[in-house]
């Protein structure tokens, strides 16, 4: 009897402790193509911060970023090579790659997504977070 009562209580507590909805800024992009598997926090890219400093054209025409979250296979090797983020984040136009935590600042396990996206709300997500087994396999 006591046990079933406890289970009931636990159920209610579980509902209360459920993750809260995110309040992130519109168009914040979480990029988690490789980060989780590499044991890094996913990258959070704030569109708002960059659009105050650059027009869309700079990244989406000059640097070749596709209009798709997670659609650019960005790796640290490419960034250090001066591609994608590395075109500016090189210590000349902006701070360079040794500030890991300023980009890799997302909550581990967050899937690739654009916050506030209509498409994402309407279409089932194509991304599936890795579970423990798959993580171990990748390592």
């Amino acid at each position: 009897m006591f046990r079933s009562a406890m289970i009931g209580l636990l159920g209610v507590i579980a509902v209360l402790v459920m993750p809260q909805p995110v309040k992130a800024e519109y168009a914040d992009v979480v990029i988690n193509n490789y980060a989780d598997a590499a044991g890094m926090r996913p990258v959070v890219f704030p569109h708002w911060y960059h659009r105050i400093r650059f027009r869309c054209k700079v990244c989406h025409a000059d640097l070749g970023f596709a209009f798709k979250a997670g659609g650019n296979k960005i790796t640290m090797a490419k960034i250090i090579d001066g591609q994608f983020c590395g075109a500016c984040h090189n210590g000349e136009i902006s701070w360079s790659v040794e500030n890991c935590g300023m980009c890799h600042s997302g909550i581990p396990g967050t899937p690739t997504s654009i916050h506030g996206s209509t498409v994402q709300r309407l279409v089932a997500p194509t991304y599936k977070a890795l579970d423990e087994k798959e993580k171990a396999q990748k390592k």
Partner: protein, 218 residues
């Protein structure tokens, strides 16, 4: 035996919910007392969703890891948005107006802050079959931010009547929806009129199909 167990389980659940309910009512009473003489039961549209927190700082936004030192170095959006004109959706900032008013000076070239954008001032009017106002597409604000090659010819064929655009495609992230609804202003019930901005002529009638014109019961 098992029946009894289930009953007890359900009772415990109910009790817990009741306990929680009374607790929240108690909290409401407290708030009402604090706010003065008006009952908190009279809040307008109390059953609608509460207005969500706008422009949260990185540490409170739910996607940044609080345990990460870098999170606390990042700029909170509200500091950056100070003095910029408001809007009702997206970042709650009217980006196009802030650019027009000269409040923002984003670079058009990565290195050279003096490079001026290639602006084209051409409005495209798209007649809409439905009774909503027609769409006016202004090239000007788009070319202020983007380059021709961003849209043409991959997303929009630069030719009259060559593009089939409808709201379902846009909502699914095609055509205008490649940017609108993700980064540029979102598609909400508040933002329809930003595109659907040209009133239909007074004698406008909805287009009718052959079948409906021929039907004898009209």
């Amino acid at each position: 035996m098992t029946m009894r167990k289930y009953l007890v389980f359900i009772m415990a659940l109910l009790l817990a919910v009741m306990f929680l309910g009374t607790e929240s009512i108690a909290a409401d009473k407290k708030e009402a007392k604090q706010s003065g003489t008006v009952s908190s039961a009279n809040i307008f549209n109390r059953l609608l969703k509460k207005e969500k927190m706008r422009n949260a700082a990185p540490a409170e936004d739910g996607i940044h890891d609080v345990a990460n030192d870098g999170t606390h170095v990042l700029q909170p959006p509200l500091i950056a948005y100070e003095g910029l004109p408001n809007s009702d959706f997206g970042n709650y900032v009217d980006w196009v107006k802030s650019l027009d008013d000269g409040l923002l000076k984003p670079r058009y070239d990565r290195f050279d802050p003096k490079v001026e954008p290639l602006v084209m001032d051409l409005d495209i009017v798209r007649e809409v079959k439905a009774s909503v106002p027609d769409v006016v597409f202004p090239h000007k604000p788009h070319t202020q931010w983007l380059h021709c090659s961003n849209c043409h010819p991959k997303i929009f064929i630069p030719q009259r009547k060559a593009n089939v655009i409808n709201m379902s495609a846009i909502l699914l992230g095609q055509k205008c929806g490649v940017c609108h609804g993700k980064v540029s202003f979102p598609i909400t019930t508040k933002s329809c009129k930003k595109c659907h901005s040209k009133e239909k002529p007074k004698d406008w009638k909805p287009p009718q199909s052959e079948a409906s014109l021929k039907t004898p019961w009209r």
